[in-house]
Amino acid sequence: MLEMLSIPFMRQAVLAGLILAAMLAYLGIHVVRRRIVFVDLAIAQLSAVGVALAMLLDQDPIGFSLVFTMVGAAFLSLPAYEQRIPQEAIMGIVYAVASAVSILIIAKMPHGEADILNLFFGNILAVTDGQIGLMALTFGSVGLVHLIFAKRLMPIPVPTESGSTFLFKAMSWNLLFYLTLAVVIAVAIRTAGVLLVFSDLIIPAAVALLFAERLRPLVLLSAATGVLSNLAGLYASYRFDFPSGPSIVASLGVFLALAMIGKSVALTIFSRSDKSGPK
C-alpha cells in the first residue's frame, strides 16, 4: 500500500477517490431513502449529452454540462403529473434516451468519441490537480449547503394536501436537493465516469442502511464503506494489474456482499444465543 502511494499519479487517484467517496456516500443516503436510485444514472447521462453538445458546438464542456444537468435535474424533481408511470420508469427512460442522444451527437462529430466514452468508465488515474481542486471546491460548497439546510432537506418532504404553500416550500427544497446532486454528479463523472459515480452513490449507502437508521450513523457508515472500498479497489488495480474504475466498483460489490453475509450471520448467532433449552 505504501509502495503504491509513492507513485505520484496513484497518490492523486487515491485523493480523488477519497473526495468522491465521501461526497457521494452522503448524497447516496438521500438518493436511496428517497427511492430515486436511477436518478443519478439519468443525471449522469444528461451530463454526458451536455458534454457532447459542448464539443459539437466547440464550447466549454464543464459549463455546458452543468447547465444541462441542472435543468434536467430540475425537471426530474417535479412531482410526476402522470401518476400511471412510476418515477423510476421515467428515470430509466431518461437514462436510455439521453445515452442514445449522446451517441447521435457523437455520430456527427469528426472525433472526440474517446472523450465521451471515457465518461462511462472514467479515468481516475489521469486526474489532474485542477480536477481535484474543482471537486474539492464544489463538493465543499454543496456540503456546506447541506449542512446549513440539513433540517429542511431531511426528512424527505412528501407532497400532501395540506395547502399549496407547504407543497411549494417542499418542492423548492426538493429542487435544491436535485440541483446539488446535479452539480456533484456533473463534476464527478469527468473524473470517475458514470459507472463509478453510480456505484459510489448507491453501494455505500446500501451497506449503511443494513445496520443503521439515524442520519449520523448512516452517514458515517456510508462514508467509511465508500472510503475503504475506494482504497481497496485502487490497491487491487495496482497490485493485480486491472483498470482502476472497474476495480473500485467490484470492490464496492464485495463490501456489500460481505456486509450482507455478516449481518445475516450476526443475526443468526444472536437469535441462537437468546434461545435456551429445547422448544
Binding site: M4, I7, P8, F9, M10, A13, A107, P110, H111, G112, E113, A114, D115, L117, N118, F121, N123, L125, A126, T128, L234, S237, Y238, D241, F242, P243, S244
Partner: protein
Amino acid sequence: MMIKAIVSVFIGGLLFVNPAWAAPLQVVTTTEDLAAIVREVGGPFVEVESQTRGTQDPHFLEARPSLILKASRADLFIEIGLGLEVGWTPAVLVAARNPAIQPGALGYLDVSRDIKPLEIPSAPVDRSQGDVHPLGNPHYWLDPENGTIISQEIARSLMSLLPDQSQAIDRNQKEFVERFNAAIVLWKTRMKPYEGAKVITYHNSWTYFARRFGLDVVGYVEPKPGVAPSPAHLNQLIALMKQEKAKLIIMEPYFSRSIPDLLSRETGAKVLVLPPSVGGAEGIKTYFDLFDYLTDQLTTALSKGS
C-alpha cells in the same frame, strides 16, 4: 424496325467507345488514403468516396444507411485488409447485396495481397492478447514506399474494369510513382537528422512509418491493443520513458488525451497528435500532403529542446 436497330447499336457503340459520355466508375474505399491514391491513378475515369473520415479510427465503424447505400451502388470496393476493417466491412458487404463487389469478384480489391506485413505473430493469437491482428500489422499505408504497391494494385483493378482506359490508367500510375518516389527522397532527407529518436505511441499503428523514417518506438500506451492501461503498466512505461529519454508521445486524434497528458506531466515528453490518414487534419488532401504534414510536424516537435 431495321433502322431502329441500327441506330440503337450505333448510339450504344458511341457510348461504349467515347469515355467522355460513359459514366465514371463508382469506387468506394474504406479509408481516405486509398481514395486519394485512386484519384491519382484513376483521374477523370473514377468517382471515389471513402467510408471513413481521416479523423476516425478505421478499426471501428457504426454501419449507417448511407454507407451501405453507397456500397450497393459501387462498381469497385477497396479495403486495406489484414484485419483492419474486419469489424465492419463484412457486414457492409453483406448488407449492400451488390454481387459486383463481393470478395472474389473483379469489383472487390483487398490491397494487402501484395504487401509484406510486419509483425506477423509467431504463435496462435487469442483474445487474451488484446486486439492483436493475426495476419500482421495492418497500418502499412504509413510506409510511403508501400505507396507504389498500393497504386499498382489499384491500377490493376481499374484496368480490369475499364479495359478501354488501360493505357491512360497505366500512365497515371507510373507518373504517380515517379513523383511520389521523388517526394520520398525529400521526406527522408528531412527526417534524417532525427533518426533514432525515441518515442512512444498510443496504439501500435506507427510501426511502418517508424521503420521507414528511423524512429525508435520504445513502448505503447496501450499494453495490449484495445485494452486500457493499468497502474502497473503506466508505472513501467513512465520508468521506461525516463530511462530512454523518450521525447514524444504520438497519438491519433481519435484517442483520449488524458493518459498521454499524464505521461507528459510525469516524464517531460511532449504529446504530439498526428493524423494517420488523409483528411485527418486541415489541408491534408492527398497522399503526398499526408507525409508532408507528418514529417513537418515531427521535425518541428523533435527540434524543440532536447
